[in-house]
Symmetry: C2
Subunit: 347 residues, 2 copies
Amino acid sequence: MSRSRTTVVDIAHAAGVSKSTVSLVLQGSPLVNEKTREKVNSVIADLGYIYNRGAANLRQARSKIVGIVVNDLTNSFFAELAVGMDMVVQSAGYVQFLAHSGESVDRQREVIASMRENGIAGLILSPARGTEAADLKPLIDSGIPVVVVVRNLPGAKVSTLLSDNYTGAKAAVRHLVSLGHRRIGFMGGFIDTAVFAERLRGYRDALQEAGIAADDALIIHSAPSRAGGVAAVERMMLHPDRATAALCLNDAVAFGVCDGLRSVGIDPGKGFGVIGFDDVIEAKTAVPALTTVSVDPQGMGQRAAQLLLKQINAGGNEQESLVTSVRLVVRQSCGAPVRNNYLEEMA
Amino acid sequence: MSRSRTTVVDIAHAAGVSKSTVSLVLQGSPLVNEKTREKVNSVIADLGYIYNRGAANLRQARSKIVGIVVNDLTNSFFAELAVGMDMVVQSAGYVQFLAHSGESVDRQREVIASMRENGIAGLILSPARGTEAADLKPLIDSGIPVVVVVRNLPGAKVSTLLSDNYTGAKAAVRHLVSLGHRRIGFMGGFIDTAVFAERLRGYRDALQEAGIAADDALIIHSAPSRAGGVAAVERMMLHPDRATAALCLNDAVAFGVCDGLRSVGIDPGKGFGVIGFDDVIEAKTAVPALTTVSVDPQGMGQRAAQLLLKQINAGGNEQESLVTSVRLVVRQSCGAPVRNNYLEEMA
DNA sequence: AGATATAATTGGAACGTTCCAAATATGTCA
DNA sequence: TGACATATTTGGAACGTTCCAATTATATCT
């Protein structure tokens, strides 16, 4: 219907200059005379010209596109992470392919391949469960910068951005201990993820440090979701000598645990202390407000994106591994009186 | 560092054929002899060739990329919507630029412009508040198919996929009436969105139908989020003759309302009937499980993507407007005994 | 005015693919 | 075997940009 796309040549013709000059204008080169720049720009506006970035990429062998693959976009933690990335990617003049792997390594492989064919300049990956370092080898060898976030991928030669899961979990459990709890559970998560392992280790070390004997019956696996949290509580209730408080794998599980407690008549925060991990936005407004280890997912997403962009611009491929620090935010769900040093700033 | 990209010419050379033949193989053309196809494919595998879709797009003047712009990715409704789209887009061999406008029309404009420069074949937009039909005019005029979802954009010549907000809201209020409620509120949402207007209209008509006088004091605006729901309850409590039940703009508000009720000592589902809208995944597992109007966000995303792909393949630009039907799913939050005809199937 | 420096502009080749028209190989029939 | 049909292969032009080296216009200096 509409006739063929207007191109630099059309602009050049209409403005009475060469296509090279138009190209210089498009790139904001200082070489071009102010007068002609204005002329060209006005013609561009008149003709409704749309820059063809694909053609430019072809010539320049680089693009302004990054790929982001996230294991579960329906989990608010990852959604916020993605939003953080979106912010910095976008304001750096890039666009992102953003895909959801749904924890499927096959899907993840496919989507990464597709992104590669489409010429991404770099990739941020929150790996699906079961991803191996070898899966990323070809991509990395081709010189495309990769940043792995949230879940560690030991052995992969990539930059990594993780949260300090160990320290965070330890702090949370210490807090529960300081409130007088002795039977403290760990709820949610599957054993095969690095995040689970690290948080569990923090939990264990804190218990040991407090001289509390470990009891594996208090560690209850479940899906790392709200539904998983509900299920975990059900399972917990079967145990005669159940926990009086728990650190949950993440906030989603913690919310589920609160739901589950309520449905068996226990008031979360009063009858049972609950601590989450992540600090998603709902944590603050939930009732009871969730005590949680704040990871600042959005900020983490921003940092990941910054790291990737830095890597892309540097060209070199030296990896960098960052661990972002976390802090315990004490709210109502653990039953604690809010202490000053933990006092949360108002939003 | 790594030497220049391997290209069809390299493959052709190594396989002893012409680049044209390699191209035919890549496109799965039936013209090429089985023997040579195998040869070429093996060389492709050996050399680790990566198809350059950008170059192909340039030549063909069409791409396998779609754009998706969503107003708020941190809202699970939209996250699920995006995941639904992701599914069908991906399995159709496309990739998506997926961006978050954060309800900013400026940001939305920028990101759509950027996607256009990058050669999207079509766009799915869940418009930011304040988007006008005119904003999409240039894009549409250029012949790129656009599908608008969730929020209507009157006057825009685009395909649209909406949920039946009016009927859903009406059904929800009817249900509350059938439970004996007379003072029924409408909570959450800003007045300037079409979704709000439609659901409110359903609410009003259902009340009228039941012979209940409208009382604007029962309509409480707030942000369409969990925090907004909490705030709405606070405001509601100031009213001497408060509601005994409410239809909420969406599930996020409904969850917030439940939180807010709890914090003033009211047990949601018992002391106050709450109905949401959307049926996000947490609705089922929340405690109390949320009675809500099910929109099936993921399914809606899938349908939107299918609609767009159909449009892209058809080439023509006749618009199509679909309204997806919704159904009331009665769970615990409205205090109703679960009735058979509404009984929810197990997942 | 002529030489020289500096500012601004420019034509063509190149990026990696697809498409077309044309060429070549292979098979079939009388 | 020659004519014809069919199957397979192939060079080059084209897509819309950027880059380079080279050219032309303008300013500056003696």
